[in-house]
Symmetry: C2
Subunit: 348 residues, 2 copies
């Protein structure tokens, strides 16, 4: 499968993350993309650097003040104290209900909280560059598909589906799946389906399209009552305004077996077909694997092949966007299983 990879991804690669107030080794590391890229090369897939600039698409999805903050955050942090080069900034206060988000504080750490939903990962020296190149990769993959390629893979990290209109969170900064969907729309697809199969609900993608009738967001994920992101992803979220009826959440209990998962997949695909999708973006999280260290579904290698085959059988022009997946040993194998099963299923 034609793959656009993020050549700048390793510029965002923090050694630690904050988990419940403690610094712990980070799960979302550069090694993830590198292993997948290496495996794809070994298997003969074509890897390309992105050729198209996603700036205009990003500006229509994310808030200008958020993009401006992300672009300048590291230099602002350094300007406060040269010693900050040796430490990452972490937010400490968040504008929850009754607090205001319409006045941007002058205090840098407060601004970081304004533009965050958690404090697991934060902006480092190359986060903006890595995020921007990831958006370019998603944009390039979508342009290739819009140009007639049956399917393309955006291999990029950090992931994107938790990033909302104006906040980072869940290791995500810029929403690559949303960039791919918007690009397909701009290139002529009338109805774009986003199918999110990451273990975690794609709260950012849902929010970005919640009031739109031209992009349908469907997600199967661990029930947010017990799983991250906790505060979105419930079954009663059906869209709003013009987008009412264009959002489908299928939360599954942690520990659900593959058959329950594939049943939910069929429900989602049937809904997207009934809606009349003419192009598909898949938020491809591989953290549904049984061996994933921070998730609790039980998919095996064969299940990932089955997923790839099933996606190909939809017949839709498809952009696959790499999201989560933290069992680094099997991650590349499972990713390539999806990709190659898709290729096999899509062969005329």
């Amino acid at each position: 499968m034609l793959t656009f990879f993020n050549p700048e991804h390793a510029r965002h690669d923090a050694e630690f993350e904050i988990f419940r107030g403690q610094q712990v080794p980070a799960f979302e590391r550069a090694e993830r993309q590198e292993r997948v890229a290496q495996r794809l090369r070994e298997r003969g897939h074509e890897l390309r650097v992105p050729h198209a600039d996603a700036a205009a698409v990003l500006a229509r999805l994310h808030a200008p003040r958020y993009l401006e903050f992300l672009a300048g955050a590291w230099s602002q942090w350094l300007a406060l104290d040269p010693a900050n080069a040796q430490r990452l900034p972490y937010a400490s206060v968040w504008p929850v209900r009754s607090l205001r988000d319409d006045v941007e504080p002058d205090n840098f750490i407060a601004r970081l909280g304004l533009y965050s939903m958690d404090n697991g990962q934060t902006v480092g020296p190359g986060t903006w560059q890595a995020g921007r190149a990831g958006a370019d990769a998603a944009h390039s993959a979508a342009l290739a598909v819009a140009g007639g390629v049956r399917a393309a893979f955006c291999l990029s990290r950090p992931p994107g589906h938790h990033a909302g209109p104006d906040f980072m969170g869940g290791y995500c900064f810029l929403n690559q799946a949303a960039v791919a969907a918007q690009t397909l729309r701009d290139a002529g697809a009338a109805r774009v389906a986003v199918l999110d199969v990451d273990y975690h609900h794609g709260n950012g993608t849902q929010t970005l399209f919640y009031r739109r009738s031209d992009v349908y967001f469907a997600s199967l994920h661990g029930d947010p009552r017990t799983e991250y992101p906790f505060f979105l992803g419930h079954a009663d979220e059906r869209g709003a305004g013009e987008g009412l009826g264009c959002n489908l959440n299928l939360p599954l209990p942690a520990g659900s077996a593959p058959e329950a998962w594939f049943h939910a997949l069929e429900v989602a695909l049937a809904q997207l077909a009934a809606w009349g999708a003419d192009a598909l973006v898949v938020s491809l999280g591989l953290d549904t694997a049984a061996e994933d260290p921070i998730c609790r579904f039980g998919l095996t290698g064969d299940d990932f092949s089955r997923l790839g085959q099933r996606l190909a059988a939809t017949g839709w022009p498809t952009v696959l966007v790499f999201e989560g997946g933290y069992a680094n040993e099997s991650l590349a194998l499972n990713t390539v299983r999806v990709i190659e099963a898709f290729d096999t299923g899509a062969r005329p």
Copy 2:
């Protein structure tokens, strides 16, 4: 001055707090109240334990689900893992804009985030007991004033003015100033003024009374553009609904001199007098002292005497509620300066 002290305060006394992602020695420690109590005793003031139960008042100010969470939080945390007795729980994700707060997650850490605005301090083994006794102390002090005592002091920690209807934050869990104001109202005062002179804006108190016309909230504080709580306390917040016009914020730049501070105090007191207050609650933060380690105003010992004298000159029955102040060496001296200057000024 008649003082009601919190006999359970030391049950909440974490050694560390989280500051920008790092564990640092806590500023808000039991020593704060103990030093003030000792100084008051030495100076011959009467210290009493609270005699009245604030439960019914708390239930009208804070959301039931928040009170229930606080009351059970530590035992829920222990139930997850007996080893949790040795560590405090810290939130990791917050329901900011577009995320939902109407569904309480089953995950304990997510619930902690649902009910928090920051992650500086958290619930420990005795937080609920300390908070409840503090509310009782505020309630008892207000009842004494309602019963004819000219002024009473609620000496309690953890502080309260950042605690909102359903969230903790800024070292605060239950809003003691709000309990005192509501108690005065219930006992017959028609119009209760809350004057917040802590360095930090009392976002919780403001929010609790923002739509009410029977309690006026006025605050002088460090400008939230640069100072905690960052996301509330701006000059354009004037109240809403029936409470429109019953809220006054006087943010001052960090580093403001005492004369600017006393000028703002006069503006606030003139407004409260024009409104027709018949009782006063003072959120008495002492972190306006020049030597405070985390704040940036420059009040001296004489300024605290001047404050006490000026408050007495209003003539209003007054409940003083202890809030912030982290320069432990001078904290007790400055607190007693306010108290004794008030007593002197109030003498017939």
